[in-house]
Structures are given as C-alpha cells and as structure tokens.
C-alpha cells in the first residue's frame, strides 16, 4: 500500500512538473515521494533513525535513512493516522505521549514500517523518540546504535561525538558490508556545504519586507532537508527555492497575503489538512514567514576533518541543550525576520518542545513579541476542532491589529 502510495505520488508530481505546473514545493515533495518509495521498495538497505542523525554520512554509505517521525507526519497528512494511533493505544501505550511516536509505533505493529538493516538512535531531540527507536529495534530484532549528542560544543564534547560517529560508520560497515569511500565522503561534505550555503541565501531572502515566503512554502522544510543532505537533490531543492524567492521579490509578487503581519511558527507544523494557514493569509493578510525548525544553518564542514564538523553541527542545533539557547535562537529569528507575533502549537505530549512553553513565551515577550499558545495535537487530527483554534488565532490577529508596530 505504502509503496503504491509513494509511487503514485511521485508519478503525479512528475506529471504536474512536466505539464508546466512546477514550484519549489513540488520539487521538494517529489524528493519526499522518492524517499518514501525507496523506504518501501523492499530492495534498498534502510535505516530508521533519530531526527538529528548525520543523514549525509548515511547517504554516503548508500543507506536510505529516515527519522521515524517522518512516518507519523505522513500518516497524518494522508488522513489515516487515527487507526495507527489506536493500535498503539491497545498495547497500553499512554495517550499522554507524543502522537508522532504513537502513530509510528502503530505503523510498526500493523506491519507498515519496513524492516530496517539497523537503527540509529539520537539523544537529541527527545527521550520519547529515543525510546521508540529502542522499541523498534526490539520489535525488528535489529541492531541499534545510539548517538549521544552532548549539550555544548566544548572540545571534549565535539571529540566524543565525532568518535561516536566514526564508531557509527564502523557499525554500519559491519552490518551492510559497505565501506565509506573517502572520495564519496568528500563529495558528500561538499554537497552538504553547498546546500547549507544556498539555505542561508533562502533565509536571507525570506527576511525581505514583504517576505516572498508564503505560509506553506517552507513548512517542514528545514527538518526534512536534513534527509537529503550530501546528495545533489538537496542542492537542487534549495536552489529552486532560492531562485523562486528571488523571482518573487524582483517581480513584487507576494501572493495572497499582503504581508500585513509576519508570523514565526515555533516548533513543528500541524501535519494534517486544515484551514488555518489559508484563513491567516486570505482573511488577515498574514503569513508564517519563518519556522523555528527551518532557519537552522551551520558552519561549513571541513572536508579534511568531516567528523568534527558533523559533530559540531549536531551539537549546534538550537533545540539541543538548554532552553536558554533555544530562546536566544527564537529571539534572533524574531529580530532578523521582523516578526509581529509567534505561534507555538504546543504539540500535545511533546515534553521537549512544549515543556518549557512559559519560558519561551517570557523570552519572546522580553523583546516585545507576543506569543500565542495553540495547544494542538499536530498529528492526531481526531482531536482537532478547527473552530477553537480559529478563535485563538483570530483573537491574536485582532490583538496584533491594535498594537503599535514593533519594527517599523
């Protein structure tokens, strides 16, 4: 079923692109469909991973790898997530837990997760995600390698993580029989650096007033791009976005939203279909122009010493470590993008992301940026009552309309 779904999706998008209906989002979705098809092909060597695994390194070793939350998001976006979550509930897995992880667990129980060659767990971002990888390793009877991501980039910490990544390469080699080719590693690092360079350009363009970024353009972009790093496709997707944003600015084409208010979306988006973003754009002239999880870039990785670079990158992700770092990142985004207000979905059950709701709110308020806490389950559409969230967002818009402009 999944293989067919991704094959159909891939063909559909290819058809649309051939028919002249192309956009950066289409290129991006096409690559997602291809990744999905490979995951379910039954022939590729695949690995289930934590969100902050070094996917470029795994790609260079010819392993089709993906973080498990991707499956949760996909089940949500196709509107079938409910039955998978229920399957997990039946095992006595508490409904207080994150729905990404509950849906992934349900997919595994229902035999909808392909059996991997191995699994890579990461301690960042969350305890729940690592626990799910442990459970999957047990269910599949496959080996699990755990990457401990330290809290800061002290020399000792970078060395520790770089060593773990070397061990991880040896682990993958032992299981797959594939060696990491040095030339390919160098090429991979160069591609990652190129993609990251273009991403910096994209984000610089998105900061333009008015912003060329419409609400849906970059949703899930940053976190999913990590899966394509190291390959040419990451460079191509990023390039398409950059060129399109540049074109929009040159043409003064800012879409349906007049850019009245510029919103920052905290953490991840709502993964199922809903009308809130459309309502914001069409009724309030407001766009989400940046996501906390999108504008994350890192220093170029030295091809001569890639492991230290990979380690530094993993440690530097702002949602790693203490909340102070994350709040500083959010403040920086708010200033750079001249944000009028921030929306925190407070994804139900996410202790890592939502746990410090009050600290995030206080941090942004310090620089005058109001925060709306939605309290929504971003995956389980059965719990979604659009009216309640509309009211909260509309009231937020009404409030922004009465406030003196922050940045102008």
């Amino acid at each position: 079923m999944m293989k067919e779904y991704f094959t159909d999706l891939e063909e559909g998008i290819q058809g649309a692109i051939r028919g002249g209906n192309s956009s950066p989002k289409k290129f991006y979705t096409l690559e997602l469909a291809r990744l999905g098809r490979r995951l379910y092909s039954g022939t590729d060597a695949i690995a289930w991973c934590g969100i902050t695994a070094p996917f470029d390194l795994l790609n260079a070793m010819g392993v089709t790898s993906c973080f498990v939350e991707f499956i949760g998001a996909m089940l949500a976006s196709t509107g079938v997530v409910g039955s998978f979550i229920e399957e997990t509930d039946h095992t006595g897995y508490s409904s207080d837990a994150c729905s990404y992880h509950r849906s992934v667990s349900g997919a595994a129980i229902k035999g909808m997760m392909p059996v991997p060659e191995f699994l890579i767990g990461t301690t960042n971002p969350c305890s729940g995600g690592l626990a799910v990888l442990e459970n999957l390793a047990c269910r599949f009877g496959k080996e699990l390698f755990v990457l401990h991501i330290p809290q800061n980039d002290s020399a000792g910490n970078v060395r520790f993580l770089a060593d773990q990544m070397r061990e991880m390469v040896a682990f993958v080699s032992r299981i797959t029989g594939r060696k990491l080719d040095n030339d390919l590693l160098r090429k991979t690092v160069e591609n990652s650096n190129r993609a990251c360079g273009i991403m910096r350009e994209i984000f610089a363009l998105a900061r333009h007033v008015p912003s060329p970024a419409a609400s849906r353009d970059l949703s899930n972009f940053g976190i999913v791009m990590a899966l394509f790093l190291g390959g040419e496709q990451a460079v191509a997707i990023a390039g398409a976005y950059r060129d399109e944003f540049r074109r929009r600015i040159d043409a003064g084409d800012y879409g349906k939203s007049g850019g009245k208010f510029r919103l920052l979306w905290i953490q991840n988006r709502i993964q199922f279909r809903h009308g809130l973003e459309k309502m914001l754009e069409e009724e309030y002239g407001t766009s989400i122009i940046v996501d906390e999880l999108n504008d994350i870039t890192w220093d170029d990785i030295d091809p001569e010493n890639p492991y230290d670079g990979f380690a530094r990158r993993s440690i530097s992700i702002p949602f790693n470590g203490t909340m102070a770092r994350r709040v500083e990142h959010l403040k920086k985004l708010a200033r750079e993008y001249r944000i009028d207000g921030a929306v925190n979905p407070c994804n139900w059950g996410c202790r890592q992301g939502t746990g410090a709701r009050g600290l995030i709110e206080n941090g942004l308020k310090e620089i005058g940026v109001p925060v709306l806490n939605l309290e929504v389950d971003c995956v389980d559409s059965r719990k979604f009552t659009e009216g309640q969230f509309r009211t909260r967002l509309e009231a937020f818009m009404e409030m922004l309309a009465t406030r003196p402009p922050l940045w102008r």
């Binding site: 109001p370 009216g387 309640q388 009211t391 509309e394 409030m399 406030r403």
Partner: protein
C-alpha cells in the same frame, strides 16, 4: 439608530442592544440548543421586543462567540476575546485584567486603556478550570450548580483538590464524600483548584496583577464562590458586572457601532 451584539456561546446565546449614545437598551439570554440560527432569531426578537423597535432600526450587527459566523446579517464577526475586553471596559472602565470563564473556555485578558487587548492566555484543551468542570463537580456532589455558588461559605480551606483532570477530580470528590469531608470544604477546595488554574493563566499574561484592577465575566462569574476563591488567591478585589454573561454581546454591540461609523457608503457600479 441601534446597534446589536450577539454572542453565540456553547451554552447560551446572548444579545445586547445599545443606542447611539452607547447605552444598553435591552439584553437577552437564551439557551443555544442544537440549532444556532433559531437561538439567534429568538435572542434578536427578544431584545427588539423589549426595546419596542423594528429590525430596520438596527444599523449594524456584530457577532461573536463560537457560532459567530452563523449570524447572517452581521456586519462582521469578532472573537469573544476582543468583545469581552470592549464590553468590560464599557461596564467597568479602567479594568486592566479580565478573567472570563465560560462553558468550555477560560481566559485571562490583559487590557489597554481603550479596552484593547494587550495579551491573552486561554486554557489548555481540557475542561479544567471551565464551567464544564464545575458542572461535572456539581454532579459528583449531587447538588444544583446554582446552589454551589454559596456552598463554600463557612469553610476554612482545609480540603485541597489535587487533581484538575475532570475525570480524576470527579473520583476524588466522590472519595472525599465517602471519607465524610464536609461539603462546604470540598466546594471551597474545588473553587480554589479552579482559581489556581486561572492564576496560572493570569501569570502567563502578566506578573503585575497585584497592582491591577481586575474584573470577571462569563457565566461562571455568577458563581460567587469561584469569584471569592480567585480574589483570595490573587489577594485582590475582583469586580463582577451585573450581567457577567452578556459582556461579550455588549462588546460586540459597541464594535458594531464603531464599525458602522467607519463604514464607507457602498458605491454601486
């Protein structure tokens, strides 16, 4: 000319009619029931009847509440957060912080001088700290919800209710009854549990509340025990207007008047 505000809530549909001088001419509260449109028509008819005016005398209608988009004749719809803020400023000028507890939502709203919303926080999705929670507890206590308002009197605050989850709290109340805890202590415990939730919402909007003029609106503001508990925890007087459940509709009527004034004449092509 008259201006009509309609607030379609989950439990009741409220209408307030004001005149050109912003004075309340009539108000009505009818149960929402299963059909929003019928409730809207009944509330509207009721205020027109009380005021003794015709529909044509109403220059503009603004709707609010969860069913706000169901009012066909509206000039516009505005959320209840904005409307409550405007309404309370008309009734109790100078209010800086408004606590609104309705059937399924509770809110803390920080107000500017003109009744504009500076910030607000709403309850999490569960019913803790809302009218629904109180209803469930009244059921567990086997008392009438209206009678609960004064049942805390004479209690000393000896009984705390630790769980705010409606299901857990209900069984907690049942076991307290079984243990022979006095009902007035249980009721005070429940009121204070709600007040603690509300205080947490308040603190998310401002920590300056001890110096603020605080008011309360929404159906639960009719429950004097809850108001007392909030006042106790905030160590602050909490004012309640005479008809706390029509504050949103009044705000909507005020906004109707304002929007009508800035309405441009329609130019036909």
């Amino acid at each position: 000319m008259y201006y009509l505000g309609i607030d379609i809530g989950s439990l009741s549909c409220d209408a307030v009619l004001i005149n050109g001088g912003s004075t309340i001419v009539a108000s009505a509260v009818v149960p929402t029931g299963a059909r929003n449109r019928e409730a809207i028509a009944r509330a509207t008819d009721e205020v027109l009847r009380i005021a003794g005016i015709a529909r044509a005398d109403v220059a503009a209608v603004v709707s609010t509440g969860y069913g706000r988009d169901r009012v066909e004749e509206r000039l516009s719809s505005v959320t209840e957060i904005t409307c409550h803020a405007r309404g309370i400023t008309a009734l109790l000028p100078g209010t800086q912080l408004l606590i609104d507890i309705g059937g399924q939502d509770s809110k803390a709203i920080l107000l500017g001088k003109e009744g504009n919303v500076i910030d607000f926080a709403m309850n999490d999705k569960c019913a803790a700290g809302t009218g629904r929670f109180l209803e469930a507890m009244a059921r567990a206590l086997q008392v009438d919800i209206d009678d609960m308002a004064d049942m805390d009197i004479g209690a000393e605050g000896k009984q705390s209710i630790s769980s705010m989850c409606t299901v857990f709290a209900e069984s907690e109340v049942v076991s307290l009854i079984a243990d022979g805890a006095p009902v007035n202590e249980i009721v005070m415990g429940l009121n204070r549990a709600i007040a603690a939730r509300i205080l947490s919402l308040v603190k998310r909007t401002t920590l300056q509340y001890p110096d603020m003029k605080v008011a309360m609106s929404g159906g639960v503001a009719r429950n004097a025990g809850v108001v007392r508990a909030i006042s106790f925890l905030m160590d602050r007087e909490v004012s309640v207007p005479k008809k706390p459940d029509t504050v949103g509709a009044l705000g909507a009527a005020m906004i109707a008047k304002e929007k009508n004034a800035s309405r441009r004449p329609v130019v036909s092509a």
